[in-house]
């Protein structure tokens, strides 16, 4: 170690005002209402999550006919996040472990949705597992991705809308 050399600590603390825009904004308001909304390309018919103004593949404006996707879907891949990770958005360590899954919601064409899996679901997750979104109670929803608590495993014949 060379004591002639210095280390300087500085904290970059920036506040931003972000606008979600009409498309992602509609999606976020949908979450508050307990719905997962996608928009649709008028040319290829693909559903887009998160909703965007333009279909990246066809380069045409997305339609205004919003589609409510099923809260149920199929896990196509997953990651168990175990390493402690600093998160610049909260100015602290993100709670670990958690399991992040890519889920194709029923009727969502070829676009996946990202979210956490409920703990016991995470322990037995496999590709192809059927899962369902669990929303927070309406009074706790704010219009963010956190309005979905997590996804939990379901049996095919199970009725919709299990409680958190």
């Amino acid at each position: 170690m060379d004591e002639q050399l210095l280390e300087i600590i500085h904290i970059m603390d920036l506040r931003y005002r972000w606008s979600a825009g009409p498309h992602l904004g509609e999606f976020l308001r949908g979450l508050k209402a307990g719905k997962i909304l996608a928009n649709r390309c008028p040319r290829c018919g693909r559903h887009q999550l998160p909703p965007t103004p333009v279909c990246g593949r066809c380069h045409v404006a997305m339609g205004t006919d919003w589609v409510e996707l099923s809260p149920r879907g199929t896990v196509i891949s997953f990651s168990h996040v175990v390493d402690p990770m600093y998160d610049a958005g909260i100015g602290g360590m993100r709670p670990v472990p958690y399991t992040l899954a890519s889920i194709v919601l029923d009727g969502a064409s070829d676009v996946a949705f990202f979210h956490r899996l409920e703990e016991s679901t995470a322990q037995r997750v496999r590709q192809g597992m059927r899962v369902e979104a669990v929303f927070r109670p309406p009074s706790e929803r704010e219009g963010t991705m956190e309005d979905i608590l997590h996804f939990r495993a379901i049996e095919e014949n199970e009725k919709r809308g299990g409680s958190p």
Partner: protein, 389 residues
């Protein structure tokens, strides 16, 4: 007809985990001094300087502005650019275009990163959409995990080939004085290392490194006066499909060919390359995980689909093999991200010059392919040659 583009100067730092002994300008200057020395040029013979690093890693807005003097940018019409993991490749491609256009005779291109300032993964996560997935996403390891799962399923191989590929890269890295990690590994060591996201283990992944790499590129006229034989960058190609992945993630594999296949086929077709594994003597690919090597060998048409793991198993990718890959030790041994793409091109050029030292591939090297890759499925590739195109 574009101007021919040659590499006439190569310089890099000894890459390390930390560089608390220098600031980024001083670290950049080490590589620049070496590249100019190698080219036997002084800074006043450089027309412009292009620079790249990943934003936010060092906590400097306009990190290039603070390094103007050390980088040799004073008074020159250069700029900084950033395309994520491919940054170094994009910078070399931009330098290539500057010279090919006929506007510039000499370009100094610098890639660098100082990953000792903050946990880089937190900076990486800010690439995500703030409302949608920034609070969930956690780095790039998951991409390689799904790549690995899919490869094992389709090719019918186990965990050993990716581990062996890592061992071979480590063997190459130990012979490279500039390499950050110089590990002495066995397949058992790799398979005993901690699982990050199954089946990707700690030793499959690249480290976080500090370092810089600089190249002097010139047109043919200037290259004739070069003290060392010029290495020609015959062609370059970029392809990407970041929209589909970056904004919400489509199901992988998305329909259609991958970005690597698109870029490679365009480059091969333009240059009349029918049998890449026979016509290209050495491969310096940007593989951030040794798992990525297996599918990518196939996407680059080094071999047929499902065959890559068998070539690795036979150890044909070693320095003395018929298809040498990652003679430098690869990104899994050294990853100062903004520099990594430049290092790939530098290593390919060193191999063509025959200056690989202990890591020089055994057969004669007349052609090489270098690549850079980013997690948004962005790819930049280069075809290099000893012979004037």
């Amino acid at each position: 007809m574009p101007e021919r583009v040659a590499i006439v100067g190569i310089g890099q730092t000894e890459h390390q985990y930390m560089r608390p002994d220098v600031n980024h300008e001083e670290m950049i200057h080490e590589a620049v001094e070496r590249a100019l020395q190698d080219a036997e040029m002084n800074i006043h013979e450089i027309d412009t300087v292009l620079m790249t690093n990943m934003d936010l890693f060092e906590g400097h807005y306009l990190a290039d502005a603070m390094s103007v003097d050390g980088a040799g940018m004073y008074g020159r019409p250069g700029f900084k650019l950033n395309t994520g993991g491919t940054s170094g490749g994009t910078a070399v491609a931009a330098a290539w275009h500057h010279i090919a256009s006929g506007v510039f005779e000499t370009v100094l291109v610098i890639g660098w990163q100082k990953q000792d300032a903050t946990p880089s993964i937190a900076a990486l996560a800010t690439a995500r959409e703030p409302f949608y997935d920034r609070g969930l996403a956690a780095g790039a390891v998951g991409i390689f995990a799904s790549m690995a799962l899919q490869y094992m399923q389709e090719a019918g191989c186990g965990e050993e080939p990716a581990a062996l590929a890592r061992v071979i890269m480590a063997d190459h890295a130990r012979r490279n004085p500039y390499s950050h990690l110089k590990l002495d590994l066995t397949v058992e060591d790799v398979l005993a290392s901690r699982v990050l996201v199954w089946p990707v283990r700690l030793l499959h992944m690249s480290p976080t490194s500090c370092g810089a790499c600089a190249l002097v590129l010139s047109n043919e006229g200037r290259a004739r006066r070069s003290p060392k034989p010029p290495v020609w960058i015959v062609d370059t190609e970029t392809a990407h499909r970041e929209q589909s992945v970056w904004r919400g993630g489509c199901v992988e594999p998305a329909p259609g060919p991958t970005a690597i296949e698109v870029a490679a086929s365009r480059l091969y077709n333009r240059n009349g390359i029918g049998h890449p594994s026979r016509e290209i003597d050495v491969w310096e690919l940007y593989t951030p995980s040794s798992w990525a090597l297996l599918p990518w060998m196939e996407l680059f048409s080094i071999c047929e689909k499902g065959r890559a793991w068998r070539l690795v198993e036979k150890e044909l990718i070693r320095l003395d093999g018929p298809i040498p890959i990652e003679p430098s030790g690869g990104v899994v041994s050294t990853n100062p991200i903004g520099a990594s793409g430049v290092i790939r091109v530098a290593e390919a050029a060193l191999q063509i010059r025959g200056e690989g030292g202990e890591r020089q591939v055994h057969k004669e090297v007349r052609t090489a392919l270098a690549s850079a890759w980013g997690a948004c499925h962005w790819i930049v590739i280069f075809l290099l040659s000893k012979d004037r195109p």
